[in-house]
């Protein structure tokens, strides 16, 4: 059948031959072929432990082309199916720089003339036999205006050299030429920018790059990945201020599909030589404005949350936030200060309650507004996005640390938002202070996510902005509610314990939950920043803060000492802030994962596709270092012996996605399940042997137990 097709196509091609001017295929060993292919080993022998390089030469019938790694709009790249002895391993195909092959409105990437591809085979250190047989089934597609798939099987029988004699090179000129034609990898730093349908990549050129590209022309940018650019659109590539600027038109495949954009840039040098370089651009290095690979209008979240339900959950989540270790100390002390208010001062109390609520709502509104705006601008971010920035983490830890020092009695604050904590609430004054206590409560609450919050926020961020804002406001109201009620209902105030000397002790005691929060934030910070210096940097910052505060308390009366002490205090605090300013994320390493010693698979979209295509059950754990619930769940329910042995027994593939730093693939996955933050646990049941189908993926609750996981895996839930 195949031969018959080939014959039809061949005759069709011959029919058009005079018009388009290409010749007939070469007939060799009985098969007509448009491309004559050969496989040449670099040496006519094999040396133990030394990889063997091979050249695949392709001689074209004029007018016919074969394809590059990324074939462009159509076509198929050349592939090799190896049959190798035990412990031999085939390497990738290495291509020379491609050319564009336009046909009508389509543009393909390939080779319209003779070319040589390179590949290699890894050879084991010890080979028992004195001869080895390597068989390569090489398949390629060759096209003119019609396409013909061709294939050739080539067997090499090579002697094994064991006595150390030097191998004899086989047609070295072919290898020299082929290696010279491979694009040269360059370390030029590239930054991606996507706007509407334009994709701009700016490369910072080093000295070598500036020299190489001076006076160069006829640029073309070949991406190795399909679907990223419109291949037929004109490209605007130029060198400007030591930058190589590449302007392309975007195709529809989301950028979040790929982690790195590898590409080949071809050009004609000032001297008139054809040259090419290989470039690599990390896609995560720049704001990715990728649409989620799910049609939005047909998206039905797995658990449709209704508006009312979301509001209720947000309110509940906000209420629970009051009990979190970073918030509770602030609020409990603020609440206790109300006790002293008499009923006559009810009006003032009401006003305090309202101002405090306003402070929270304004702050919540700003954060939510920013989040929604960034999302509408196409950023792949979710709740907790602020915590993906180490600078924010460190500044938060400074803030909590200062508050903790204050509570512990290390120093007193005389004005500002912190001033009212645990102190007498002046009946007519301190309104401003109360408003800012609300703001402060929101800021210190951000690292904490309470149960029920995730569902509400996941819902909110898939809705139009006004719905999303309403949900966030409900969350803020939940946070404000306990204090608000104490302000408005005098009877409630009366039920609070009577003030006394114990309050000072309580206040000091309350510094410890704050210190604990600081310890946790420093731990998160250390995992986010480059190298192993995170801990010492963060802790040094804290010491500087403490020192700055301590020395400021010693105020000599006379100059120049007074100014000197002030300068010392201020400069140590500035130094602490400089540490924060210098922290950079280390996006390439996933620390929460590295930290876990439990066997797991790192999450990526392609990995998930492969796993889902397989038969084994899959347990997906979306986590982040700064998510306390995630850490607790992992320690209490996932890393336990019971769960781990169950995973082993049932062949469950444990996939971990680390969202500690930004990761658009994980954000897209969370969105797919109607979530906007971690944790998220999803279990995919194994493929049914009889029906060949997998059951619906199950979303697990955000608070896990070993028993609950076992029930889900055993299908008893």
């Amino acid at each position: 059948m195949f031969l018959k097709n080939l014959l039809v196509l061949t005759s069709a091609a011959i029919l058009f031959a005079p018009a388009i001017g290409h010749t007939e295929p070469v007939v060799k060993d009985g098969t007509p072929r448009y491309v004559e292919t050969d496989l040449i080993p670099e040496f006519n022998s094999i040396t133990e432990g030394q990889p063997l390089h091979l050249a695949i030469t392709q001689k074209h019938t004029p007018g016919w082309h074969t394809y590059w790694k990324n074939p462009g709009d159509s076509g198929e790249t050349t592939s090799i199916e190896w049959t190798l002895p035990k412990d031999f391993k085939a390497g990738d195909i290495i291509y020379p720089a491609p050319e564009t092959q336009p046909t009508g409105p389509l543009v393909n990437f390939g080779f319209g003339h003779d070319e040589t591809l390179l590949t290699s085979v890894d050879v084991p250190k010890v080979i028992a036999d004195d001869h080895v047989t390597l068989t390569a089934k090489i398949s390629w597609l060759v096209c003119h205006d019609v396409c013909v798939p061709e294939m050739k099987e080539i067997t090499l029988n090579l002697p094994v050299i064991k006595d150390g004699t030097a191998p004899v090179a086989n047609q070295p000129e072919i290898f020299t030429a082929a290696r010279a034609a491979i694009p040269v990898p360059k370390p030029w730093q590239g930054m991606l920018e996507e706007q509407n349908q334009a994709l701009t990549i700016k490369f910072q050129l080093d000295e070598d790059g500036q020299k190489m590209l001076a006076g160069a022309k006829d640029f073309f940018f070949f991406p190795e990945e399909w679907g990223i650019i419109l291949n037929a659109e004109s490209q605007n590539i130029r060198v400007e201020n030591n930058q190589l600027i590449v302007e392309l038109r975007r195709d529809t495949r989301p950028l979040s599909d790929i982690q790195t954009l590898n590409a080949v840039l071809t050009f004609v040098s000032e001297k008139g030589d054809k040259e090419s370089v290989a470039l690599s651009i990390p896609v995560t290095a720049k704001a990715v404005t990728a649409p989620v690979a799910v049609p939005p209008t047909s998206t039905t979240p797995p658990e449709p949350t209704s508006f009312v339900q979301a509001i209720f959950l947000a309110l509940l989540g906000g209420l629970i936030l009051n009990l979190m270790p970073c918030v509770f100390p602030v609020l409990s002390l603020k609440a206790l200060s109300l006790v002293k208010m008499s009923e006559k001062e009810q009006k003032h109390a009401n006003l305090h309650g309202l101002l405090y609520t306003a402070g929270i709502l304004v702050c919540f509104g700003s954060i939510a507004g920013l989040l929604i705006a960034l999302q509408m601008a196409g950023q792949q971010i979710g709740w907790g996005f602020q915590l993906q920035n180490p600078i924010v983490i460190l500044l938060l830890s400074y803030l909590l640390f200062t508050m903790a020092l204050n509570l512990s009695g290390f120093f007193e604050i005389k004005s500002g938002p912190l001033a009212n904590i645990g102190h007498k609430l002046a009946s007519k004054h301190g309104y401003k202070g109360t408003f800012f206590t609300g703001v402060l409560a929101t800021i210190v609450a951000t690292p904490c996510t309470a149960p029920f919050m995730a569902t509400a926020m996941g819902y909110a961020l898939t809705q139009p902005p006004y719905v999303a804002l309403t949900v966030f406001m409900a969350l803020g109201l939940g946070l404000a509610l306990p204090y608000l009620m104490l302000c408005f209902i005098p009877a409630l105030r009366k039920s609070l314990p009577k003030p006394g000397a114990w309050m000072e002790t309580f206040r000091q005691f309350m510094s410890f939950p704050l210190f604990a929060s600081v310890a946790w934030l420093i731990w998160v910070y250390a995992q986010q920043v480059d190298g192993g210096y995170g801990t010492i940097l963060g802790l040094s910052g804290l010491i500087l803060i403490a020192f700055g505060i301590w020395i400021a308390r010693h105020e000599p009366r006379r100059q120049p000492w007074k100014t000197g002490i002030h300068a010392l205090s201020i400069s140590s605090i500035i130094l602490a802030f400089m540490i924060a300013g210098f922290s950079h994320t280390d996006a390439t390493q996933t620390k929460a994962e590295k930290e876990s010693s439990v066997p797991h698979i790192s999450f990526s979209t392609t990995e998930m596709d492969t796993l889902i295509a397989g038969n084994d059950p899959i347990f997906v754990d979306m986590t982040a270092s700064w998510c306390i619930t995630c850490q607790v769940n992992e320690r209490v329910a996932i890393y336990t012996d019971a769960t781990q042995s169950l995973f082993k027994q049932k062949n469950v593939q444990y996939v971990v996605g680390d969202w500690t730093n930004q990761n658009p693939e994980i954000t897209a996955y969370l969105n797919h399940y109607g979530r906007n933050g971690v944790p998220l646990y999803v279990f995919y049941g194994g493929r049914d042997a009889t029906t060949g189908q997998r059951p619906e993926p199950k979303i697990l609750p955000q608070l896990l137990t070993s028993g609950l996981i076992a029930d889900v895996i055993n299908g008893e839930e």
Partner: protein, 199 residues
């Protein structure tokens, strides 16, 4: 003068957008044509039904792979039995490979025992360019609301070997099953493989 310049600039994208793929998740572009039997086919009148578009060329080896193995017919049958409207489109230009007069093209596909709902001849390439169809086969799935829900290859095995269809993961069937269950399409964009459309 300035506004004239702006107007000209604004028109540039329109003129260069002649060949641009529609985005998955957005409404599929409207088209109408007569099929080889003379029936009028209009996308907007198919609202409420899931629609599959299959770009085809009877002389392309990749199309042969799927028809000679019976794979395409099987997928068509399964889809149409579920109420899906399946439209096969041949965008080969006059004089190019795969271009035939209507009765001949109809006979070729009748002999192949095809199970599609309509077969369109798009000699001008108008519909092909509207959808950014690159290859044969290039597949598009449009949901009941007229939203493009899948664009790409028929399956994940991009060779021409007929044996491959047995182990391949069929993206179109997967997308149809998910749409039927009221779920979003998991794999909604893939790399279409095959011969270039002969515009």
């Amino acid at each position: 003068m300035k506004s004239l310049l702006l107007l000209t600039l604004a028109l540039i994208p329109l003129t260069t957008a002649a060949y641009a793929a529609p985005e998955v998740g957005k409404p599929a572009p409207e088209f109408m044509a007569n099929d080889v039997d003379g029936n009028h086919v209009m996308l907007s009148s198919l609202k409420g039904k899931t629609v599959v578009l299959e770009w085809t060329n009877p002389d392309c080896p990749f199309v042969h792979k799927h028809y000679d193995s019976g794979n395409m017919q099987k997928v068509q049958k399964q889809a149409t039995a579920d109420g899906v409207v399946w439209v096969a489109i041949d965008s080969s230009a006059k004089g190019k490979e795969g271009n035939y007069p209507a009765p001949e093209l109809k006979k070729i596909y009748t002999d192949k025992k095809s199970n599609f709902s309509h077969l369109l001849i798009d000699e001008s390439g108008e519909i092909g360019k509207l959808y950014g169809a690159k290859t044969t086969p290039h597949m598009f799935v449009i949901n009941k609301d007229g939203i493009l829900s899948y664009a790409g290859a028929i399956d994940d095995k991009s060779g021409t070997d007929k044996e491959e269809v047995k182990t391949a993961k069929n993206y179109v069937l997967e997308a149809l099953a998910e749409l039927k269950a009221g779920k979003p399409v998991t794999t909604s964009i893939t790399n279409p493989y095959g011969c270039g459309v002969k515009y």
